[in-house]
Symmetry: C2
Subunit: 553 residues, 2 copies
Amino acid sequence: MSATLRILPLGGLGEIGKNMTVVEYDGKIVVVDTGLRFPTPDQLGIDLVLPDFTYLRERAKDIQAIVLTHGHEDHVGALPYVLRELSDWPPVYGGPLTVAMVRSKLDEHKLKDVPLKEVRPGQEISVGPFTIEPVKMAHSIPDMFAYAITCELGTTLVTGDYKFDQTPVDGVPADVARLAELGRKGVLCLCGDSTNADRPGWSLSESSVGPRLEEAFARCEGRIVVTCFASNIHRVQQVVDAASQLGRKVALVGRSMRKNVNIGRQLGHINVPDGILVEPKQITDFPDHKLVIMSTGSQGEPLSALRRMAGADHPHVDLHAGDTVIFSATAIPGNERAVNDTVDRLFHLGANVLTPKDTPIHASGHGYAEELKLMLNLVKPEYVMPSHGDHKRIRLHAQLAEAVGVPPENVFKGENGLPLEIDGKGARFAKRERAGLIFVDGVDVGEPGDVAVRDRRMLSADGIVIVVATVSEQDGSSVADPEIIFRGVPAPEDEEELVEAMRDAVEDSLDRSAKEGVREISLLQAQLHDDLAEYIYRRLRRRPMVLPVVVEV
Amino acid sequence: MSATLRILPLGGLGEIGKNMTVVEYDGKIVVVDTGLRFPTPDQLGIDLVLPDFTYLRERAKDIQAIVLTHGHEDHVGALPYVLRELSDWPPVYGGPLTVAMVRSKLDEHKLKDVPLKEVRPGQEISVGPFTIEPVKMAHSIPDMFAYAITCELGTTLVTGDYKFDQTPVDGVPADVARLAELGRKGVLCLCGDSTNADRPGWSLSESSVGPRLEEAFARCEGRIVVTCFASNIHRVQQVVDAASQLGRKVALVGRSMRKNVNIGRQLGHINVPDGILVEPKQITDFPDHKLVIMSTGSQGEPLSALRRMAGADHPHVDLHAGDTVIFSATAIPGNERAVNDTVDRLFHLGANVLTPKDTPIHASGHGYAEELKLMLNLVKPEYVMPSHGDHKRIRLHAQLAEAVGVPPENVFKGENGLPLEIDGKGARFAKRERAGLIFVDGVDVGEPGDVAVRDRRMLSADGIVIVVATVSEQDGSSVADPEIIFRGVPAPEDEEELVEAMRDAVEDSLDRSAKEGVREISLLQAQLHDDLAEYIYRRLRRRPMVLPVVVEV
């Protein structure tokens, strides 16, 4: 008698980012990916957004392994936070580059001795009731693996991010043969990347970008600044190749660019000709037409090297007319404003700017609709649960599955926290588990809708008014002038008059409370809050946070 | 002897929005447009952004007229605020629709008896040393005028927003003949719309949208919700026509949609067949396939009708599978996230969504590069100062001017506050005048970088800690337990312990000050602030706003 297979997405469905999927059989768990998201502008002061992984904490002893598809933050970024909450660390598997990048991240979090294990395609991992096989895929970072997770009931294929690039820069395309073989043997459930389900056709090959970059470089007379994701190691390779072809030196600017290129070189993913790299501080030693600067900041990140250049505030790079900045990346949804801002500042400095809208100097790392259909046709899954996508992309991926012949009743449009249960009798969604988001705010990890963030939202919209009243312990009468302090509330024209009037309002409120025999501090404060909030609204037509403090002496 | 012509942009250069241009000759001023911008997410709690119009306030008595090109907020929205600051109101000119829309806006601001004057193309306005002629242009709103402003020295053509639509919905294209005539007589300076300088070719004709909408409607089986700018009256007309063709009723949802359609009908810009309009509350009386709902919210505005529908929170419209929402508009830069959010919520409700990316159901109101070149060739300006654009678009428009043969030294890439001076000897930028932005925050109009907004930014990032210490007037010793209050600061795990420790830190700080003989309240508070901020950073690794209040009793 076989048990039930449960596939529980804890992140990445109904959203872009923080990917995390739990595969469960016979009470044992494999976690695929532990990703994070970056906060939206209304998540005030928040640094990172993680999936709510309460489920993992509660089932800690059942976790047999964590397997990582690749080294991007939206797939591995939550790992330190997850590990911090687990008393026994399960083994963590990933490709060599993934492991190197994760190790560096765990070091920053002072997490030592995590059992990180390098795996390679074809190698089998046996944990609990599962056999797990990494399958080589192509993406915008090397060592990208899908995982075929097999239990008694069948094989679940979790694709991670992928494209079917026929000419990847490292020469090793996705292992179509192995996927076909898995399909022939029978795949029970496919959880596939939906990111580009809305784009018809096929994605561009990564290696098509290099020649376009070289053409663009050849037309530049001054310095060239190229910005791309620092983890896009094949892109960096192509920039280095184009620069070398045209006799330009390359300077790497930005901490993560330098770090990732180092890791990439150590693992042999990047091949840099001798003598081509120069230090950022040497930039001014070379004539403009002899330089390519590779920089972080393709998303307009506030503290990135490119943003500092755009603000004429970088210690080593001073952009001017004649320089060309090449964005070899597109804006992730939500970053458009920051990217446009950066571009316009660069124009203001006199630089030229090239983006993928002008010429094809970027290729997406995610397969388009026809590639998703190829995957479906290769692995011929019995059930499909699209992953990695907002509601729109999940729906479109589901339509693609139906278009290639998967019966509609076998296609499951999932949600975070909704487990898909499969057994001999079929598949269905089961009772919802806890899922959602948690915030990382500085050093703390907290709940969402967190009181602090709610307060910040209120403070940010209307500011705060603080009233300190000092009352006598004997009779509750006011014994000192109330202090009234505004922050974030625009000062009215006659501020002194207003403060005076508010003091009167405070005294009135206290008098009334005294007459009514109200003596308990919390009641006094509540009364004061209501009276003053009303007064402020009447005078200023605003609703700042009102914070009364009553001191008894 | 002729004087100097000054063209001073107070808004709209180096940005998109808040367009305002001052044309000045012989000490007299004409103001073209008084626009506003909507705030960016980091302008916390701000409602509107206006150009800093100090220059107009200081030169109030010299203002001969305000002329308005069309009724969009980025061209007229600041008018009530400008008029509030002028003791004598100059006449305000605009086309009939512009005047009707502005009148309704001034009524809301309780500004009565403003001398609003309707003008029509070809009619001449004589004010001070100027003759001003409105020239009919096409845009995404009727009654769009360029203004040819002529003084002794020559003619300045300020285009406002325009496209050369050969088949506008109202059948009256831009007056190319009149522009050519102006060119033949000689145009001294062209200030032209740069909004789409980055798009090659020609814009789509507005009337090409109607048939595409009708095709899209014909494929819909359930209800259809169309969202577009409420002021895009020709678009509304085309939706009404398509609905009528297919036997569907039309319901108008959202306040500004209803208001603008009313104004448009009164002025004869919209022709609605009898019996086609139904009230929002009647929506449930009709079968789904008999309805088109026209709604505000194409930009994902938080309080708009469409956003409420997407949140399953609209009193009259309850969207479900089978319904189709058609975005007949593109996201203004910066609104992408809000629009994408809205789209995804609609998908989550089960609705289908069509956007201009899927099928050409939108046409821009701004001419593309070839149209800007046509304008340049028609009016053959001696000088060119591109307007309405960020730095990138201004630069690209300048390149177009050079491409059609304007000598580079006659093309001026302007900035807000930088006056272009033209006289018999040539043209040059003169001394910078005050320009920038001011905020509207509720009922107040304030300075930018306003203390309130700075405070809100700080409060929104890290929250606030308030400390109330009560000290004796005699010797400065602490006479009551310090009160410590957090808002927007995440509560640490052991909050009580922390508050206790902070109280100790406060007492220590006060003791030290007492020992050092510090008695002045402001010094005590400064010391307390520094000590506590340091303590909090040491404990929490955060830098909230720290607000010490010392009460003497």
